[in-house]
Amino acid sequence: MLALTCPCCGVTAEETEFAPGGEAHLTRSGPGSSDSAYEAYMFQRKNPRGVHFERWRHAYGCGKWFIAARDTMTLEVFGTYPAQTTEPPAEIVRTIRAHRPDWTPAQEGAA
């Protein structure tokens, strides 16, 4: 059971109060993009074993989307931040590095 803190309303609750929304920081592709770029955007996922950035919605709370940084091997949550950003904020990156020295944000290049 995950415990997440919604960065929009500040409430900390168990995962049943939230709805998962898949990998975060995807680069959108639309009309005019190549087939490969569109395929990558629609289907291909990093699915990492380790540090993962993921969209969540505070479904039974304020209803807002946000992003959680967590580890898929241990379910450890490194932090959450509002969804209006294209990359993890510096503070989250620092927290992750403190816990996972091997990890680099470069691995999180656009999908």
Binding site: T16, R49, T74
Partner: protein
């Protein structure tokens, strides 16, 4: 390989069972094999088995990170059925179900296939319409299923409460020739048969990298040394993403934990498999008497092999309504496995962007039933470059929009 038989049991009885050989060898890896299969679960071993049996290819190593059949092969709820909606799925799963019927004889190893019948309950009007549609599709595909009325459900499953307040039983899709098998025995029997053909089954050997030359696979690096190979088959279920990453491509797959639990053993009370997809639960009774319960999958990526507590609660809460006697049972064990989910809930058996590298993954929550069929088709794909059973399941189907949408037919239980 010494054959198992009634005569062998009698012979060993006279010498304190001292003559039984190890079922499969544990050789040191060689430097080169014609074919390397990564993953000694059911599907990987079945692929190697049919490469040997159908195509005479035996210079093969099956390498496994942990122990044989210790992943999803040993973690599923052992259900075997083939009542799928789409034609390519029905062909593949029905082939598999048919192979299961004679697999014990083929392997000379009792996999305890029990064609006890699988029933998928219709508990909403929408589900009833869906199963009537599947019944008709199955009739056209040559898969033997029929839609049965609540009275027949009650007759086949005396412990069921068909008048539940929230989800009454409105009928069921019944496949009489479906059933269960002993999951560990499937892996053990296949490993024994592969070993007898001279293949190497190498446990405790994790892959750490994939090497390529001129766009084709050339070797795998493992924790027990570098192994060169002509062809590589990746059959690692939940960890496919990590292997694909080593091979230099990405998959349309996300890994989540799916969990199951068993009750304390009780006297025989239910001799069929019941799946209740509306409430995300399925139930059968094992030979030991335990009620085996499959639950829902986590909604978010993880590799924890344990699952979330609230899914257990949801599953059991719903099942107790349909099977009131379960409320008196204690649960003994709960476990999880990492399943590889594709968007259309159909598997991927395909060539990959890396030449001579093949992948078999994406079975999601329903791979056990497909074990022999998956191996049969994957072996043909690896030996000949294509197979009529796998052509529709290629990686390209996502790019080209040719989905094999089974999410409607399957609900969550699979």
């Amino acid at each position: 390989m010494k054959r198992y038989s009634a005569f062998a049991i009698a012979r060993e009885a006279f010498r304190q069972h001292s003559g039984w050989a190890r079922a499969w060898a544990s050789p040191e890896p060689r430097n080169h094999y014609d074919i390397v299969i990564v993953g000694a679960g059911g599907h990987g071993l079945a692929t190697a088995y049919y490469l040997g049996k159908r195509f005479g290819l035996t210079n093969i190593a099956v390498i496994e990170k942990g122990w044989l059949g210790g992943g999803n092969t040993g973690r599923n709820t052992t259900i075997i059925r083939s009542n799928y909606l789409q034609d390519p799925s029905a062909a593949l799963y029905e082939k598999s179900r048919a192979l299961y019927e004679t697999l014990s004889q083929d392997l000379n190893y009792n996999i305890m296939f029990s064609p006890r019948g699988v029933m998928m309950l219709a508990q909403t009007e929408a589900e009833k319409r869906g199963y009537l549609r599947t019944e008709r599709a199955n009739a056209l595909q040559g898969v033997d299923t029929r839609f049965i009325q609540p009275s027949e459900v009650q007759r086949l499953v005396p412990i069921i409460n068909i008048h539940g307040p929230r989800y009454p039983v409105l009928g069921a899709l019944w496949q009489e020739r479906a059933g269960t098998a002993r999951h560990d025995a499937v892996a053990w029997g296949l490993a024994r048969a592969c070993s007898a053909m001279g293949m190497h089954v190498i446990e405790q050997c994790a892959v750490t990298g994939v090497e390529s030359a001129n766009g084709a696979v050339s070797a795998v690096n493992t924790t027990r040394g570098r192994i060169t190979c002509g062809k590589l088959g990746i059959v690692v279920a939940g960890h496919s993403g990590a292997l694909a990453d080593m091979a230099g491509f990405r998959l349309p797959i996300e890994s989540v934990a799916l969990q199951a639990l068993v009750s304390e053993p009780i006297k025989p009370c239910m001799d069929v498999v019941v799946m209740a997809n509306t409430v995300h639960g399925y139930l059968s009774q094992s030979d030991k008497g335990e009620m085996v319960i499959g639950g829902g999958a986590d909604g978010f990526n993880n590799y924890t092999q344990r699952g979330s507590w609230h899914h257990v609660e949801e599953t059991v809460r719903a099942l107790v309504e349909t099977f009131p006697m379960l409320s008196r049972l204690k649960m003994l064990r709960q476990w999880g496995g990492i399943v590889d989910m594709t968007g259309d809930r159909s598997p991927i058996l395909s060539k990959t962007p890396l030449e001579n590298c093949f992948i078999n993954c994406g079975w999601g929550t329903g791979g056990f039933k497909a074990t022999p069929g998956s191996g049969w088709a994957m072996a043909e794909l690896m030996a000949k470059g294509h197979s009529p059973l796998t052509d529709a399941f290629s990686l390209n189907r996502f790019r080209e929009g040719r989905f094999i949408d089974e999410s409607v037919a399957a609900g969550v239980a699979h």
